[in-house]
Symmetry: C2
Subunit: 449 residues, 2 copies
Amino acid sequence: MNEPLTLSVADEELALLTDLYQLTMIQAYWKEGIHDTPATFSLFFRQLPPSRRFILACGQQHAAAKLSQLHFNDAAIEKLASTGRFDDDFLNWLANWRFSGDIWTVPEGTPLFPHQPLLEVDAPIAEAQLLESLIMNLVQLETVLATKAARIVWAAGNRPVVDFGMRRVHGIDAAVRGVRAYKTAGLNGTSNVLGGLRHDLPLSGTMAHSYVLAHDDEPSAFRAFARHYPNTTLLVDTYDTLEGVRHVIDMLRDLPDLSVGAVRLDSGDLGQLAGKARALLDDAGFTDIKIIASSGLDEHGIAELVAQEAPIDAFGVGTQMGVSADAPVIDLSYKLVEYAGQPRAKHAPGKISLPTRKQIYRRQDAAGRYIGDTIAQRDDTHIPGEALLSPVVQNGVIIPDTMAQAHQARARVADALPRFPASVTALEQGESDYPVELSDTLKHLSSTV
Amino acid sequence: MNEPLTLSVADEELALLTDLYQLTMIQAYWKEGIHDTPATFSLFFRQLPPSRRFILACGQQHAAAKLSQLHFNDAAIEKLASTGRFDDDFLNWLANWRFSGDIWTVPEGTPLFPHQPLLEVDAPIAEAQLLESLIMNLVQLETVLATKAARIVWAAGNRPVVDFGMRRVHGIDAAVRGVRAYKTAGLNGTSNVLGGLRHDLPLSGTMAHSYVLAHDDEPSAFRAFARHYPNTTLLVDTYDTLEGVRHVIDMLRDLPDLSVGAVRLDSGDLGQLAGKARALLDDAGFTDIKIIASSGLDEHGIAELVAQEAPIDAFGVGTQMGVSADAPVIDLSYKLVEYAGQPRAKHAPGKISLPTRKQIYRRQDAAGRYIGDTIAQRDDTHIPGEALLSPVVQNGVIIPDTMAQAHQARARVADALPRFPASVTALEQGESDYPVELSDTLKHLSSTV
């Protein structure tokens, strides 16, 4: 096999993870001598997916920090030279390039609505353009997954949710960085060893059907596993869920030195089975054995089980969360909104963007409830509310202590979501009545640019 | 910011990209002394997504080759030790572990149907289990993307299709390995520099709206870009598509030393605009300038434009292909089907799996048309048709010349798809009438295990 077997993409290779046109446009700017013209690009989305009422911005500070350090190493320059599309002089400039601009972001874990920037880059146009494709790729992944996961955590209320989805997500990076998004959204654990270790989310795991099938019968499998792992979770549905629960009970009666922390239900009518399993366990005196449910769960399935008051103590979620199956894409745009000090806007049908550098103000009432946002020009003054965008990179350098770590972002999400009206956090398809307005000056500017 | 800024996952870290329960189960097998029991795991899917009529197996040989070399390095062992879940003796065993089993796969680029294995692992149970989570993650990504891309290429007929989706896919790995899947499926180019260079798919790029907005007006932008890049593609819809086309025509009349290869339409009614743009270009004598269309296209949008005979010469596709939006997941299963020489099967409701090691036979008629498949036991003999599964790793070692490179897989796809009945390649939702049967012996075994 002559194909390279390498799967990894080293951080030093990331400068080449871009769309070709970024580099050809930049070469054109450079030849025209306008590559240093100051510009602002804004990262936002024009509309929500039908199945979303807010987007949880995630990854934008992480991406900003990373991208402020982007550069083209010798190997990258050589590869670009090999395409025959770039002049040596330009490649020399590119080899010496370091990001010199500013990046503003909302904090990680901020719920946002259409046309609100997640991030703005103020930089010479060539530099802002160099970041575009990678910034979009990086931010979209974490934002899509965190948004989905936040809905799932919301649906589960105070019951823990654990990520079991590593095998279903789209590749290695999604598996690992996904855990960061899940942590931000409020998940309580992950089965993903590398992701959990890297992003400091507790590891969690039970057993697979194959373990049961590898033993002569279910009771033998349960006994063996429980001997190795006191207080473990046993998967009870390989043959028949309630029969499996009975096997657990029989084992604990026969072998009182063994202990079981939980049983996991992974198929069938989870609500009904949980009720029956709970009754079996309680009747046998095992009131402290918890019930964990998994199997194709998403926020709707979880909300239904919670509404039924199914006696489920924790949820395991995989596929639906791992690819955000009902909204795998947020249609992020990274648009030129200011150039050479002048506001710019694109007018193509259905693809309107708001001109100029922006700020978002979020207002609270006396009880701390969010009552509305104003999207304003960055230098609009006297607008009430908390300003959400702030600089995290200045003159190409990360500003110390401006970026939230994932555990801080997580606290922010937990604090913010309950402050919104129920129409924002509702899970069913529909639109919220949360008011998001343009400031008068931005409204005026939008109609004239 | 104390969080690590590293985004990359090195190949040496991949052994930890697994679900915790794999490692706890393996430790249990090891303690029970049954970790060496021979087992076979089969990677298959139980049902097609509603919007798919076949799955294009992709990445399974690449994954098999990679996973045959998996091992836990010192750093990985230390990290596992830090979790406090593993005994030193077991970690010693794990540190010395190398894969010793066999892996069978269908060739990359093979269209498959439910219950047909993409891959089977014959190995001591602990080893087969060690590969599970990563094999599923790796194979699912390329298979999901290749399946979607194959539908798009099929819809486009003989018109080239180019990948513009790097910014929308789920992270870095999906962006880079996605290009391998697109190449297999038959795409003609990609805008993704790193992905295209690594997987040898031609780079392609046009220009962005921001380039137009960074100039005083559209004609200035067109002139500047065309001067830098003879025969380039100009994006004509920043303000008004047909006005943009007129600006191209005017420029070429005024400055006959400039040349333009194509115009790109990126918004509005693409079919109608393509017709009008074609007429404007032809009337002006520029019959050789091609028209490229993009903007939210998927196989259905492309099929409609092709059916309308819209004068579009090539399609650019991004978001819909990049996340396989209408089917972001294939519900792959990796199940124990044989253990200690005995067939095994899971019987949980709705999650039936077929026991034992398998082979797939695909039959052709005299004209080379595929007429039906038989799923058989691996040692079933005298079953007509081409056997699709063959070994690519034996005793832990890659068998030379057994694995298709992406360009060979691509040729295989192009050859195979037209041989299927139209009900398999049809794009609309529905089921094909392609017959897939079980061999008599497998049928008998399935009803008795």
